[in-house]
Each structure stands twice: as structure tokens, then as C-alpha cells.
């Protein structure tokens, strides 16, 4: 099972990753605006998994690409240091986002003279015990509203220096351990504590690591995945059937006439479809999508380089900045829609403006950091 030599990522950039990660960032932004009509264009309404799985999987994938070469060239201590520098950047970004988020709420409610907004949005605990809330925020335990994804990423990347040397040699063993941890977490209901008391991590890192490590192992297994191609069509058919089933269930949440068609014995098997511990139905749904994308979109597909896709690729290349901005803008959009005008037009406008701002920032970041091809992904 062990590979002869540790895996080293090739030099050319897989632009599928940029494209799909950029798309996931757009989806996350659009889905974070409540009742947004534009979210009908995202994956969420058509199946069990959503953009979070895409983002976490690609993060694991790119982590191996970014650091495996460094591991081979510079050794473990230097690579680990670089990974922790990245963890630090993520942490700083998260704390900055936290402050900006709260400042935005405070500013809106003061400027618009709507203390009800603070009350409604009250970042529970912050009002009652601000000192402790700030401490808990620094410890990543206090994460109001939509600030859950970066802490997950931080924890996963902090463990990555120990995963990396293993995954480049024994990817299957890493998958085995990862799935075992996932299964044990679901079975024993493990989670990390959060704040206020009694809360747990909304994205349980011990469960969601399975998505991240599946992405990491998939890079190393890359050539060997061709082994699965002997069942390419049966697998594709299974994947399509599963996606259709999943779409039927997801659409039944929107249409009562559909939900009446679902027999009770099926519902009894599938519900609840847990997000905190990434229910197996969600994970399989994501894998089915990933399999079909692998078949339909080869890394050298010509359309990936089309100019229309350049904005979304740029967003994917600068995912940290764009993610933080998107989370911040989703709150702005929510405030605009809720307090000024709530209509289809306003939802479409704030979605388009938000995505445009994310693109502008992505282009600025690209310009700032020189030619994009040289920039390491992570």
C-alpha cells in the first residue's frame, strides 16, 4: 500500500480548483443573505451538500499542492513553520472579521437609530459579559452568526503539519484514520465546546476533517484514481441517481406537493441530515458531485480559461480575502434588504453588487501580489 517515494505536487496550477473555489465563495455569500432569491442559483436547493463542502474539500486539496513540494525541498521544520504562518494569517483574518462584523452592527444601529437591531442581532454574551466574550472570541469559541467556517479551517490547518508527511506517503492510511475519527465522532457525539455555555462548534472539526483529508488524499491518489475508471460509467450512473434522489428530497422542502410523495419509511432513514457532524448523506452527495466533475471537467478543459470565468477564478485564487469580505458583505446585504427594501429586485441587486465588490478585491489582490501563476495556493 505504501508509495515508493513521497508524493510531490507538479508545478502547473490546476485552475479547476480556483474556478470551483471561487464559485463556492460566491455561493456562500449569496446563501448567507437570508431568503435571497439568488440562492436558487446555488447548489444548496438541489441536494444535501452545499458550498461549505466544496470549500473545505478544495482547501484540503490545495494544502497538499502548496506544501508537499516545500516538504520535499526544505524539510519538515520549515514546512511546518510555513503552515503555522498561514494558520496565523487565518487567525488574524478571523479576528479582524469578528471586529469588523460587530462594528458594522454597532454602526448601523447607531446611524439608523435602531437599537432593536443590536438587540435582534445581539451577539449573545457580548452584551451581557463583553470581557468574557472577547476572551472566548480570541479562543475561537465565540463565533456569532456566520463566523463558523474560518475557525474550522484554522483547526484543520493547525493539524496539517502532522498529516502532511503521512498523506504524501500513505494516502489510503490517512483516509482510513480520518474516516475512523469521523465515525467515532458521530457515534460518541464528540464535539468541542463553544461559547455561550452549552454550545458546541457548528462545524465540528472532528467530523468535517473527513472532507478536508479526502481532498488532501485525492491529490496524492490522483494518478491511482484512474484505477476507478474501469467502473467509470457504473459509478457515474450511481452518482447521477443519487444526485436526482437528493434533489427530489431537497426540492420537497420547497414544494409540499413533492414532500407528500416521499414515503415515511424513506424519511425515517434519512432524517435528520445533520450539518454539524456532516451527515453521511451530505458527504456522499459531495463525493458524487466531485466524481461527476472529475469526469466532465478535465484539468486541461479549454473552457476553464474562458475570459468570462476569469472573475470567479480570481476570487478562488485569493480565497481568504474574498471569503472574509463575502462574510462581511453578506451582513451588509442582510441589513440593506431587511431595513430598506425587501423585494426580488433588492435581493438581486445586493447579490450582484456584493459579488462585484468581491471580484474587485480579488483583482486588486492579484495585482498586488504579482503574476498569479507564481502565487502558491492555500
Amino acid at each position: 500500500m505504501a508509495a515508493a517515494a513521497p508524493y510531490v505536487a507538479p508545478h502547473q496550477r490546476d485552475i479547476r480548483l480556483d474556478l470551483f473555489r471561487g464559485l463556492a465563495l460566491w455561493f456562500i455569500f449569496v446563501d448567507h443573505v437570508p431568503e435571497n432569491i439568488v440562492s436558487w442559483l446555488t447548489v444548496r436547493n438541489y441536494g444535501f451538500s452545499d458550498a461549505t463542502e466544496i470549500f473545505v474539500y478544495i482547501s484540503g486539496y490545495t494544502a497538499v499542492i502548496a506544501y508537499s513540494r516545500m516538504l520535499a525541498r526544505d524539510g519538515w521544520p520549515r514546512t511546518a513553520s510555513r503552515i503555522y504562518r498561514r494558520v496565523w494569517q487565518l487567525y488574524v483574518a478571523h479576528i479582524l472579521l469578528f471586529v469588523a462584523f460587530i462594528a458594522q452592527i454597532a454602526w448601523v444601529s447607531i446611524a439608523r437609530d435602531t437599537p432593536a437591531l443590536i438587540e435582534e442581532m445581539e451577539l449573545l454574551g457580548l452584551g451581557q459579559n463583553p470581557y468574557q466574550a472577547i476572551l472566548e472570541a480570541a479562543l475561537l469559541k465565540f463565533r456569532p452568526v456566520n463566523l463558523d467556517v474560518l475557525p474550522l479551517y484554522i483547526v484543520l490547518l493547525a493539524a496539517f503539519p502532522f498529516v502532511l508527511p503521512a498523506v504524501v506517503r500513505w494516502p489510503l492510511a490517512v483516509i482510513g484514520v480520518s474516516v475512523a475519527l469521523y465515525a467515532a465522532t458521530c457515534h460518541y457525539n464528540w464535539n468541542l465546546d463553544a461559547y455561550p455555555e452549552g454550545k458546541v462548534w457548528y462545524f465540528n472539526p472532528m467530523a468535517w476533517q473527513v472532507v478536508f483529508h479526502a481532498g488532501a488524499a485525492a491529490v496524492v491518489l490522483g494518478p491511482r484514481l484512474a484505477w476507478l475508471d474501469r467502473w467509470r460509467w457504473p459509478l457515474a450512473i450511481l452518482a447521477v441517481l443519487y444526485l436526482l434522489f437528493s434533489a427530489l428530497i431537497a426540492l420537497s422542502w420547497q414544494y409540499n406537493s413533492l414532500s407528500r410523495l416521499i414515503p415515511d419509511w424513506i424519511s425515517r432513514q434519512i432524517y435528520p441530515i445533520d450539518k454539524t457532524n456532516i451527515d453521511i448523506l451530505r458527504f456522499v452527495h459531495f463525493l458524487a458531485i466531485a466524481w461527476l466533475v472529475r469526469l466532465a471537467v478535465p484539468a486541461d478543459a479549454a473552457f476553464l480559461k474562458w475570459r468570462v470565468f476569469e472573475p470567479v477564478r480570481r476570487c478562488g485564487e485569493h480565497s481568504l480575502q474574498v471569503f472574509c469580505l463575502g462574510t462581511f458583505l453578506a451582513l451588509t446585504a442582510q441589513v440593506v434588504v431587511a431595513n430598506y427594501e425587501n423585494s426580488i429586485v433588492s435581493q438581486v441587486v445586493v447579490s450582484i453588487v456584493g459579488i462585484a465588490i468581491m471580484c474587485v478585491i480579488a483583482y486588486c489582490a492579484a495585482w498586488f501580489s504579482g503574476p498569479p501563476a507564481r502565487k502558491a495556493a492555500a
Binding site: 442559483l41 436547493n45 452549552g198 422542502w253 414532500s259
Partner: protein, 256 residues
């Protein structure tokens, strides 16, 4: 060519959405009969009238804790506090949230004394039934746990409002969820407790054409922001209608 594809996708989505929007009702509402708690809640009423104070313990599982909301303030206990304060100016309202996700009637009965006594509650809202139904606790055993829990709370000087199961895909799929709702109604009557008919209220939403996505999170079990806020609003209205003399209530505000 790709622009056409995108446009077609957009139009299709819009068509899907608008068809959907017309077919459904998006209001938070419940009929008068469904909001009748069936009990005068004398202790709570006296506390409001004489002491200008109402101390409420919200006992329950994940619905009480607020799992599924984007903000704990949207969970029904926090909403209850806000709405009661607005409806009864001058009355000090305290709501103590004792929700622990995943617990069933047995586990909550076991902590009833410890959670109610120190708060000196005049009213206990007990959200219960869903986890017992999911775990298939025999209904007679479930009923006995309820009786025991209510007896403990009553001995500490509190009125009770039982909140029954939520009407969501994971619960509707159970073979006998209505049996648990029926048992709760029976026990409430027998023990002189109020009953907040969450199951029937939410079923009426669904039957009126409100889609699950409007009030349930994607896990098919927990209430989302809308569901929690609406249940909080309706529960507040039911309690206000019961304990506040009619001439003071006026028309209940239905904003937000």
C-alpha cells in the same frame, strides 16, 4: 453561447421561485383555538398582577437551546422575553433558558428540581416530546415522566405550559408522533397544565401551503430563524391572552 445557458438557468430559477411564491403563505399565524392554552395559569397571573414580576423557566431540548438559529436571540425563550416585555410594560420579565440539546422527558425530569428551584419560577414552559418520540420511549412511560416532572415543578410553586413536538420531516416520518402529542394533551389536562400546540400550529402552516424550507433547517429536524421567531411570537400571544386582563391587551401587534 454560455451567456445563453446562464440566462436560461436564471430564468428557470426565477420561474421555479415565483411559482413557488404564489402557491404558499409566508405569514406567521395560528387560529385562536390553537392558541388556547386550556389553563388559566393562576400563579403566573397573580405574580404579574400583584408583584409586577414574571419568572419563567424555559425547560427543553434543542428548540429551547436555539440550535438551528443563526443567533440565539431568535430562539423562542429570548423572543418570549422580548414580546412579554413589550406587552406588559412595568412588569419585570425573567426568562431562564434551560435548554439542553438531545434530552428527552426522562433526562429533563431528572433535572427539573435543580433547574426550577433556584430561579423561583412562577411559570415553566416545558418543550418536550420530540426526543422521546424519536427514541421510541413507550408512551405510558413517557406519560409517567411528564407527570413526575410536572409534580416536581408544581411542588415548587410553578404553573406549567407544555410545548409539544415540532411538525418537521424527521418527526412526521415517525409512525406514532401523533400518539405522543395526544399523550401530552391528556397529561396536561389531568395535571392542570397549559398546552401549547406547536405540532398542530405547525401542521396548519404546512397544510396552508407553507413549505418546510420556510421554517425548518436543512437537517429536517430543527426550526430555523423564522420558525423559532414565529413560535416565540405565538407562544407569547397565547400566554398574554391567558394572563393579562383583556382590556389591557388591546390588539396583539403582528409586526415582524
Amino acid at each position: 453561447m454560455k451567456k445563453h445557458v446562464l440566462m436560461a438557468m436564471g430564468l428557470a430559477a426565477l420561474a421555479v421561485w415565483s411559482g413557488n411564491a404564489f402557491a404558499q403563505s409566508r405569514d406567521c399565524r395560528a387560529s385562536r383555538e390553537l392558541l388556547d392554552l386550556g389553563n388559566p395559569l393562576e400563579i403566573a397571573r397573580t405574580a404579574v398582577a400583584d408583584e409586577h414580576e414574571l419568572r419563567i423557566v424555559a425547560m427543553g431540548s434543542s428548540s429551547t437551546q436555539g440550535y438551528g438559529t443563526t443567533n440565539p436571540q431568535f430562539a423562542y425563550p429570548a423572543q418570549l422575553k422580548m414580546k412579554l416585555e413589550a406587552a406588559m410594560p412595568g412588569v419585570a420579565i425573567h426568562v431562564f433558558n434551560k435548554g439542553i440539546g438531545g434530552q428527552d422527558a426522562e433526562e429533563m425530569t431528572a433535572r427539573m428540581r435543580a433547574d426550577v428551584k433556584p430561579e423561583r419560577a412562577q411559570l415553566v414552559v416545558w418543550q418536550v416530546g420530540t426526543n422521546s418520540a424519536i427514541r421510541r420511549t413507550p408512551t405510558d412511560q413517557f406519560a409517567n415522566r411528564l407527570r413526575a416532572g410536572i409534580d416536581i415543578g408544581k411542588s415548587l410553586g410553578a404553573n406549567f405550559v407544555l410545548m409539544n413536538l415540532q411538525y418537521v420531516p424527521a418527526v412526521v416520518a415517525l409512525p406514532d408522533e401523533e400518539e405522543y402529542a395526544r399523550v401530552m394533551a391528556e397529561v396536561a389536562k389531568e395535571k392542570g397544565a397549559g398546552l401549547f400546540r406547536r405540532f398542530e400550529i405547525m401542521r396548519a402552516w404546512y397544510n396552508d401551503g407553507m413549505p418546510y424550507a420556510q421554517f425548518v433547517t436543512s437537517d429536517g429536524l430543527h426550526l430555523n430563524d423564522f420558525g423559532q421567531k414565529c413560535i416565540g411570537k405565538l407562544l407569547s400571544q397565547a400566554i398574554i391572552d391567558t394572563i393579562v386582563p383583556k382590556k389591557l391587551t388591546g390588539t396583539p401587534k403582528t409586526s415582524r
